[in-house]
Structure formats: C-alpha cells, structure tokens
Subunit: 291 residues, 2 copies
C-alpha cells in the first residue's frame, strides 16, 4: 500500500514540476531497499528530463538542500523508442460444456529493462501457463474455458489489455472470472478479490485446498486486483489476484536486481498450485460465480 | 565467520589463478546482499586483471558455464595510484598516575572509495573520538593515558599500524590494553577479546554497565579482534574489539552502499557508550589487566 502512495510522486511528479516551471525533476527511488539501486517505472510525459535517484543520493541531496542552494548536473541515458507492434499471447483450454464462459489466468509479458523482469512479471506468466499445464497433465476437462493470457505492455500504459478490451468486450458478459498474478513470485498467502461478498464466499472450498501451505487468505479489494484485468473487472467480471507475501517485492521490483535468482522454486510452485486450483475451481463449479 | 571463509577466494584467488595460467580472474561478490552490487576489497597482486561480479551475474555465469564454453569481455576501470604519504591521527588524554600505561581506543580512517566508508570504518573513528570526548565532558581523569587513534591504511595492507609498531613497539610492554571498533555501527552486543581468561574476567564489572542496552557479552577470541591492533596483541597487549550485531554489516560493507544513511544514530551512541565505558574502566582500574 505504501508503494501506491509513494509511486504517485514518480508518476505525477515530473508533470506537476514542469507545470510549475521546473527544468528537470528527480524523485527518490520508490523501491524499499537501500543499495544504490534506483527504481524505475512509468511517469506521465512531462517534456522535461525526469529520473529517479537512489535512497542514498536522495538523502544526501535533501541534506545538502537543507543547507543552501544545490546545483546538479544530470546525465540521463534512457531513451524512448518509437512504438512497435507486439502481441498478447493467448491460449485456450476449451470448456467442455460452456466454452463461452471464460476463466482467465494471466500475468504480463513485458518488463522494465534494467533487470530481466523475473518477479515482475515473468513469474506471473509462468504461473498462468503452469495452471493450464497442470490441468492437462491431470487430464482434467473443466466445464468452462481456461484462457491463459500473457499480457503485453502492462508497464507503460496497458496497450495490450486495452486492445483486448476493444476486441472482446462484447463477450465480457459471459466471462466467469479473471485472475492475474502480478505481485511477484513469493509465497502466496491467498487471493485478493473484487467481486460481490456472496461470490467471494463461494471461493472458500477452493481456498481450503490451499490451506496446506497457508495460501487460503481471502482479501476483498475495492479496486481491480490486476492492472490488465481492470477493464473486465469494471465490466462486472469477478476479478482475482494472487496475494503474494510482499515484504521483499519492492526491494527488487523495477530495478536491475529483478533477476531469476530472486525466484524461490518452492514458492513459485506454490503460486502455480494456487493458480491451478482456483482456475480449475472457477472453470468447473456447477454455476458460474454470481455477479 | 562466513566472511572470513569467503574472502579467501577474493584475496588469494587471482594469484592462484594466475599461477595456473589464467588470463583474468573474477570472484563472486563476497557481500551478503543481492542487489547488483559488487563487493570490493584487497587481493594479492596477481599480474592479471581481477574483479568481483554481482551475485546475480555470478549465478548467471555459473549457469551458462554449466551449459558449455563461456566467453567474456571484461572492462575493468579501477586503477592503482602511486603511494602517497598519509598519517595515523593520534590524540592523548594523558593519564594522571601512569601516563606510560596506554589504553588505545581506535578505528581506521581509510575506506574503499565506492561508498563513503560510513560503517567501515567512519563509525569506528567517531566512536573512538567520542570515548575521549565523553571523558572530558564528565571531567574524568583516568590513571592511565587514553590514546585515540584513527589508523591509516587498514584496508590495503596496514601501513599505518605497521609504521606505528615500528615507531613504538618498545613501549608496548607498558601498554594496558588496545581497543578497535571495525565491525560497523550497529548495536553493540559486547566485546570480543584476546587476553588471558583471568584478565577477561576482570572486564565483567565494566561490561555490567553496558547491560542496560544488552552490550555485555564477552566473547574470547583466538585471533586479534582488530587488524590495526594485531601487532600489539601479538606482543601481549590485551586486545578488545567491539562486537557489533553483524547481521547486516556485510550487506553494505566495501560497496557503494556504505554511506551515512546506514548508521542508526541510537546504535552509534550505544557504541560510543561501549567504547567510553570500557576505555575508562581499563584506564582507571587500580591495577592494569594481567597479561
């Protein structure tokens, strides 16, 4: 939650500064670690140079500024390349009875290029793929369609989910549920959900299966629990996000240290189990979740 | 203790590799954090390029190497400048009865230049200075001389302490004790000591004073608890090192993240108290510690 509060300065700060006549804008790294590692991310185009400085440098600059005028020379190397065509990657395990009643299991494919995006959100994509893989391996044929989606462009504006909405929003009325995993690869505590309280209660039996590893928490959310599923959530589709243990997520997220070594295999397996169990339950229960 | 085991590869690895015909040598960062932060430090001159890689890159290289031949291009920027004259900085609070019986309180002044050396070992120098400052403020006049030393060149070979030994070793026979703080600025748990068991027992009353904040541990050590006081320790001078909580010391030590923001003021004050209480006790007790 602190991330949401802090990231407003990264997102809106440069534009607000430019509107007040600033020639450049710097924000303290939004990450939670203090290892000389600046945290990157989206900010509203502002027409002025904008960047993040490490926790160490932010403290130093604040201290110098408290003593008088501070002069800085900025060398910023990032560049924005022209838009290029890319794709959402979609695969269906077709439902045996109600193929039009889609249950989405998803993560996003793009990442910031400082690291390799292992926890944001390689893990989410892998876990969504694993859910379908597990169902196939177990020869399970759910009533509804399980749709695996690796979303494109979550990080810089959501072009992938916007295009999907443009192409398929007329079908959202039949969608049974949408799950996204976009909070890392750490131990799953359960699910964050945006749906009616009555619908949420119907998730209890599936969550009970995840209790063996402490993955059975149910946290109602007032906002869509996943950026790429927000349009369908707002259209009334019951929406779920895996609720990972987030204590160290923002230490690494959007930084050069988001690399595969941060993924603990046993915890990734728990996430795959959480996605497979919930995806299967939603696609197999007799009646779809009420809206 | 793991640092000592790991650092042997950094220290001796390049030379060992060169002796076997290597054209360059890389070591996995010896630090305990995984934030794309290589850890630097002394290694035996080897005549080949040598460097440290981050935890992330070490894992990646190891994984690639397990799959076949790995080709690397190294761009190493460090340079060794010619030796220059520098100084130990020494100040005495002269003893009222036995000025020749010196009690040393010390830290080291040099640091690796990636960060600013706040925890290694700015904190040690400050704590040693504070010990003398506290005695003066309290108008205490110990029997023996309290000598504050900010050692030069602990990191790259110990030229400062070697020169001191050359100049003053004939006086070591009269020295009462030597303390160095060179393990960071975190909460002090007590003291690591190299002295006879009988002498160590005589420290209990002073340690008891530090019990209010949990600083009263007494850990016998088989090696000198401080690089700069090792020569005098080996000459028989009772030697002490503040035993800081080291859980996060090697996360930051010898890296770009060793900066002032890592020092918690309340913990630094505890260290100053630990140094002042022990320094005063050693300089004021009726008889000097037995050897």
């Amino acid at each position: 939650m602190a991330y949401g509060e802090a990231v407003r300065y990264r997102g809106a700060g440069p534009k607000a500064a430019a509107d007040l006549g600033a020639v450049a804008a710097l924000v303290r790294t939004v990450g939670s670690a203090d290892f000389r590692l600046p945290h990157t991310g989206f900010s509203t185009p502002a027409g002025i140079p904008a960047g993040a400085v490490t926790a160490e440098d932010a403290s130093l600059i604040a201290d110098l500024a408290s003593q008088g005028k501070v002069r800085m020379h900025l060398t910023l190397t990032p560049q924005q390349l022209p838009d290029a065509t890319s794709h959402n990657v979609i695969a269906d395990l077709k439902g045996s009875e109600h193929p039009e009643q889609v249950v989405i299991v998803s993560g996003h494919l793009d990442s910031w290029d400082l690291g390799t995006g292992a926890i944001d959100d390689g893990a989410g994509v892998v876990v969504a793929m694993e859910a379908a893989e597990i169902l196939q391996k177990l020869h399970l044929h759910p009533r509804r369609t399980l749709r695996v989606i690796a979303w494109m462009d979550e990080e810089s504006g959501g072009a992938g989910s916007q295009q999907y909405t443009k192409d398929y929003s007329t079908e959202f009325a039949h969608y049974a549920a949408a799950i996204e995993s976009d909070a890392g690869a750490a131990h799953p505590l359960g699910y964050s959900v945006k749906m009616s309280p009555h619908a949420a209660e119907l998730l209890r039996p599936a969550l009970g299966i995840l209790q063996s590893f402490g993955g059975n928490a149910l946290m109602p959310s007032s906002y869509p629990p996943g950026a790429d599923i927000s349009a369908m959530s707002e259209a009334g589709v019951p929406a779920l996000g895996i609720l990972q243990d987030g204590r160290h997520y923002f230490d690494y997220h959007h930084s050069a240290a988001d690399t595969l070594d941060k993924v603990v295999p046993a915890e990734l397996r728990e996430n795959a189990a959480a996605m497979a169990v919930m995806g299967y339950a939603l696609a197999s229960m007799k009646d779809p979740l009420p809206r």
